[in-house]
Symmetry: C2
Subunit: 275 residues, 2 copies
């Protein structure tokens, strides 16, 4: 039997990465862990996030996963190097692939607009404070500037299912105004919850900028990176067809209900574990 | 030396109870524990909340507190009986005092309006799901009806400091409309974060009802209950003057900064502990 890919997140949001992985790699089995008993990570200290990330990685490596995908921007921002140093398997975060996609989008947009545009990052407090996106972009381009904006209300809005109407629109406007005022010409959705707000983010950004603003979703960039590692022989290919096992640390039933919103298909089987 | 009162909460919100306690009982020393590494509790399962509550209670009893005040509605709603059965000291939750104050307010309002009014409870998902307020009210009055509304966005709004303007007002309106439509004539702020939104809640409720709606804050009702237990000799009185020790499980510095907002005075000393 082929070993699965291990994917973990603080909660539900990482299922956007699972969705992108199953589309890009339909024969890969996946074990997903959502740490719903301790969600959200984005407001916690780096030290605590690292401790929680080690716990999640331990559960998945004990299940024999062949690679670890960190589907959480906050964990990717503060713990990816630590987990790489401590674990003997490929560890893929969402920040580096997201930064790569953002650089490509910003270069295309700079050419289109005829003047340099900056990369704007929306993220949790933990992701923005870490400086992980500016750091990752600076390793790919010395010319591109990055501006960041913490958007702490967007995760609760998505978790509440409040993704349309005046309240999310006002919240998104408040977070986008300073980014666009600082010259952001492309936007990175630097948290796995935000793709569910992408329609509002695109509409408000276009209204504020006076033209469409390209939006980079790191879930797809991450799935592409995993596919490339498999193609390059650095991760063994799977062959059992799509199979998803879901573990959570709290509320398995409500997780299963909301999961279909993220996966665009029927609710998966969900098992509760202690962590 | 006098043993302190132990007070715990999932995070910051319980400081509204500490504030009420220091006003009602200025000579009582207090140890406060905020479980900021696992906040919020209000969205978690009852089983997980009980597990976390046992951990918090263990830290405080190990410090020799003379009584335990659960300054969190969610924990009070699902774990107060369990902690009472397991611990050998007085355990005071916020739900029973809040229900008592709500019954008194509803009876007064019923007399004033000349028709029966219901008690409306705003709370977290965990508190509303538990049915703790209807249960506590039914032990005090067989006539009064209770209607509840989960208001999950209010905690993130307060934690973000977004307590004025259009977004909190729209969120409050959305939660109050169904309560008032069902006949709520008094409102219980069934979460320790909500007192910071009390001005908006009062304004929106008055606008929807066409007259002022009495608002019950369980922090003060709880402080009064503790004072009565001390007066009745069931908790030994303290005599060292106000002294507050604060323990948190994550981010002690940002906790100290926001704490002054809740306490109305300068930031306390905050120590980080593991849990």
């Amino acid at each position: 039997m082929t070993a699965p890919l291990g994917v973990f997140d603080s909660g539900l949001g990482g299922l956007t990465v699972v969705h992108a992985l199953t589309e890009a790699l339909p024969s890969e089995p996946i074990v997903y862990l959502g740490d719903t008993a301790r969600v959200p990570y984005g407001t916690r200290s780096a030290e605590t996030v690292v401790r929680y990330a080690r716990g999640c990685a331990g559960v998945l490596t004990a299940r024999g996963v062949k690679a670890l995908v960190i589907a959480c921007n906050t964990v990717s921002a503060v713990a990816v190097e630590i987990l790489r140093a401590e674990l003997d398997l490929p560890v893929i975060g969402v920040v580096e692939p997201g930064a790569r996609a953002a650089v490509a989008a910003a270069e295309a947009e700079t050419a289109r607009r005829g003047h340099p545009v900056k990369i704007g990052v929306l993220g949790t407090q933990g992701t923005i404070n870490s400086g992980a996106y500016p750091r990752a972009v600076s390793q790919l381009s010395t010319r591109l500037e990055v501006v960041g904006q913490a958007a702490p209300l967007l995760v609760p809005l998505v978790e509440e299912g409040w993704i349309e109407g005046q309240v999310p629109e006002l919240a998104v406007r408040r977070y986008l105004e300073p980014l666009l005022a600082q010259g952001a010409g492309v936007l990175v959705l630097g948290c796995t919850h935000y793709p569910l707000l992408a329609p509002i983010i695109a509409r408000v950004a276009e209204e504020l900028a006076g033209h469409p603003v390209p939006i980079v979703d790191s879930a797809h960039a991450t799935a592409t990176e995993v596919a490339q590692l498999i193609a390059a022989g650095r991760i063994a290919p799977g062959s059992v067809g799509p199979r998803l096992e879901v573990l959570v640390t709290d509320r398995p039933r409500s997780f299963a209900e909301v999961a279909s919103l993220f996966l665009g298909e029927r609710a998966p089987e969900v098992t509760q574990i202690d962590l």
